[in-house]
Symmetry: C2
DNA sequence: AGAAATATCAACCCTAAGATTTAGATATTT
DNA sequence: AAATATCTAAATCTTAGGGTTGATATTTCT
């Protein structure tokens, strides 16, 4: 069994002066085999080569291309159709999050594994939100990255145990704000009919439309709307609609199969 | 080392006829020790006792109370202040999700571990969303539940590897709809000034307000607004605001530290 | 039975909002 | 130098939106 080394271990640092300056592109044309095709992105040349060496030790993985720049990588992805893209998140030109989005745009099926040097729960949360299949820290043992690749190839999503808590704290926090609808809302002072009218307003209907849709006269609509204004303490249609949206308004007609 | 048995193993089934019918409440008054205080909720009496026996084998865990009904449990929670509540999700009277919400309302600090018989990604997603610290299947090895308790006590969040993929697929799916803002939005046809005006409208300001806030005349505001209507293909202020909100409008002034 | 809340509508008024046209001042691009 | 885009603004016009009062019918609560 191979030694389990640190992903960004100095062992993998190369002689920088040997390579040409500027954007680096590496291509491995070994396209016709059953190996898992992987493409790497990392603005740091040493890390890029380190990861490449690391992964290449595996028999079933083939690094078909690598780039120090996400824009270059996008073209390579179109050309080489890798199954997996491993991308650094902290990059100067195009950051990892936008890279993920644009890779997804090229081909939804490409599985993305995100890599960073340090544990940033916010970044992890956002990367996973955008559809990353795994998130690994460079400080983790190399076996983690290999495992991530293997799990992801099988269609699974892999988040190391050490990152789970951070992710979920962020995840749950992001819902806590929207859940605290306990702030006194004037919305429940509205009658059923008023809610129906407000619902129509949030659809962008004008008074004539609402009157026709509810089979009542326009003046009645105005009466309801005025009552709504009073209860919500607003001055016009737009403010009423904004109030409704900001206070999680859901018309009673639509309150079905919704727990939260 | 103890044998690792299935959580809902028949080994733990008791003689049902022995117990009184109806709601079951069990209390262990061993309050003054350093053990982790756990409260159990499960509408199935056999499961409840099984889990209790299972957990009681651990030296550092103390089941202070148990109930076959979430409502009863809520009162017991107030009385015994457990650090951890382990609750079944599929219960007739009060389902697990609302139970979680109400427990949180009693005391935000109580750590909740959710339990179900089968793997329902939707349910897992919603439970975690509501702040559960762990989610375990009854079909899993008992060591999983013990591990969950230990991790959770330490302030961590624990989701077994086998449930991670299901959770994330649901998680990512729930964002896919809101992320596909790639549907051609007319919003980027707006000029900077028009965006500023639209931004004011989404704050609920009327024309006079906008004029004052931007130090321009009201007629100029009207000109801008009319141009906005043309570009967004809407008829009035409310529709424009709704369009902006539904298409993820963020005024360029505010586009900082936000990738989404 | 009487009170209170709800839903309906009319008639009135008034102004903010929306439509249209024209035009001057800058700035950028070709 | 000419064309284009943007921001500004005035003049004019029309209507939808918003405020008020008062009235009738229905339901619900007490």
């Amino acid at each position: 069994m191979r030694t389990d080394v640190n992903i960004q271990s100095k062992y993998y640092s190369f002689n920088v002066s040997d390579r040409e300056k500027g954007v680096y592109v590496m291509i491995n044309c070994n396209e016709f085999n059953a190996k898992t095709k992987v493409l790497l992105i990392d603005d740091n040349y040493e890390h890029l080569m380190g990861i490449k060496e690391l992964i290449s030790l595996e028999n079933d993985i083939d690094v078909v291309a690598a780039a120090t720049n996400a824009n270059i990588a996008l073209n390579l992805i179109k050309k080489y159709q890798p199954e997996i893209v491993i991308t650094d998140m902290n990059m100067p030109e195009k950051d990892g999050l936008t890279a993920i989005q644009e890779i997804k745009k090229v081909n939804t099926d490409i599985k993305i594994i995100a890599l960073t040097a340090y544990d940033d729960s916010d970044l992890i949360f956002r990367a996973m939100k955008l559809g990353a299949k795994s998130y690994i820290l460079k400080t983790m043992a190399s076996s983690q990255l290999i495992r991530a690749i293997h799990e992801v190839v099988q269609g699974k999503i892999y988040l190391p145990q050490g990152l789970v808590t951070g992710f979920f704290e962020y995840f749950q926090q992001s819902f806590k704000e929207s859940t605290k609808v306990d702030i006194p809302s004037y919305l429940d002072e509205l009658t059923y009919r008023e809610e129906e009218v407000l619902d129509m307003l949030t659809q962008g209907h004008n008074y004539k439309d609402v009157a026709n849709l509810l089979y009542i006269s326009e003046t009645t609509v105005k009466t309801h709307v005025n009552n709504i204004f009073q209860k919500l303490q607003v001055n016009d249609r737009t403010q009423a609609v904004l109030y409704a949206l900001n206070h999680g308004f859901v018309s009673k007609r639509k309150q079905k199969s919704l727990v939260s």
